[in-house]
């Protein structure tokens, strides 16, 4: 399955979805849809978030299952939080610029 592109290959700006299609009846909806913030993360980071949820949000449990130390898992989560905060900030800035 192809990965969802989220960044413009020409200018590296955030991409938006222009059309959505129903695979069953071929109905196509056109518009300008903002991609969910989690799609800005790399596939590896998205899997990490899924693992975190599956571990009931327990870093200790996640560290045990991944056979990593607690601070390693916590540091990874902190990196992802930082990336999400940056993405959120840039989205807010872009939203204010465009009326």
């Amino acid at each position: 399955m192809k990965l969802l592109p989220t960044m413009c290959p020409a200018c590296n700006s955030q991409l938006k979805a222009k059309s959505l299609i129903c695979q069953h009846c071929q109905t196509e909806i056109q518009g300008e849809y903002v991609l969910p913030i989690l799609t800005r993360l790399s596939p590896e980071e998205q899997l990490f978030i899924l693992d975190f949820i599956k571990s009931s949000g327990s870093l200790k449990e996640m560290a045990r299952l991944l056979r990593l130390s607690y601070p390693t898992v916590r540091n990874r989560l902190d990196e992802i939080i930082e990336r999400l905060q940056e993405a959120d900030k840039s989205e807010n800035t872009n939203g204010k610029e465009k009326p």
């Binding site: 899924l50 599956k54 449990e61 996640m62 130390s69 601070p71 916590r74």
Partner: protein
């Protein structure tokens, strides 16, 4: 519990280099603390058997005979002299939550190259050649003849000791970076300040202890 995806391929890279220079990616907390304390105690025991004193955070010296508790105390003082300032720097500088057990545990474990040092320093040849060298430098009467075998063992031990100290410093830095989640210039500066302060503090405390 659900199975976890292999979401952390890059962070769970388990190569030999990772294990040698950054084992803290896999071991921290109580496990590291228990392992580290065991290593400090065993190193002290070998130090006692070979009269090898770890009389400072980074120091290794062939010294005088002393009671076994002195060797244990040296190990504990060295460990705490560095772990305490690093923990406080971590609290001040890091944006993450810093757990005391991780800082103290990983710093204890990072002293494991000293275990190899204490074993390498065990042969009596090191003391004989050390005494010979001291006598030559201080221009006192040399007791015993010059022995090539002693010299070779001594040189080998010194090379190993230098590499072990470099390796230990690299481990201490990685332990700090992982347990406090600090990178770049902030990590390097606070680590250097801590290690210089810890070296002075440990020297002073060990001097007070052995006086």
């Amino acid at each position: 519990m659900n199975e976890v995806n292999d979401s952390s391929k890059t962070i769970s890279d388990r190569g030999l280099i990772q294990w040698l220079f950054n084992p803290f990616r896999f071991v921290a907390g109580y496990k590291a603390l228990l392992l580290g304390l065991a290593i400090i105690l065993i190193s002290a025991l070998f130090g006692f058997l070979g009269n090898t004193h770890f009389d400072g955070v980074l120091d290794v010296h062939i010294g005088l005979k002393a009671p076994i508790w002195c060797f244990f105390a040296e190990g504990i003082i060295n460990w705490l002299s560095l772990a305490i300032p690093l923990f406080f720097f971590g609290l001040i500088v890091s944006h993450s939550t810093v757990r005391m057990i991780d800082v103290f545990g990983t710093q204890a474990l990072s002293r494991w190259p000293h275990l190899i040092t204490s074993v390498v320093m065990l042969p009596e040849a090191n003391r004989r050649f050390g005494t010979y060298l001291m006598a030559r430098f201080t221009l006192t009467t040399v007791s015993g003849a010059f022995d090539y075998a002693d010299m070779c063992i001594f040189i080998f031990a010194m090379i190993v000791v230098v590499f072990m100290i470099i390796w230990m410093v690299a481990l201490m830095y990685q332990a700090y970076a992982v347990s406090c989640n600090i990178k770049g210039a902030r990590a390097i500066i606070t680590f250097i300040v801590s290690i210089i302060g810890a070296e002075a503090l440990s020297k002073f405390l060990i001097l007070l202890l052995l006086r």
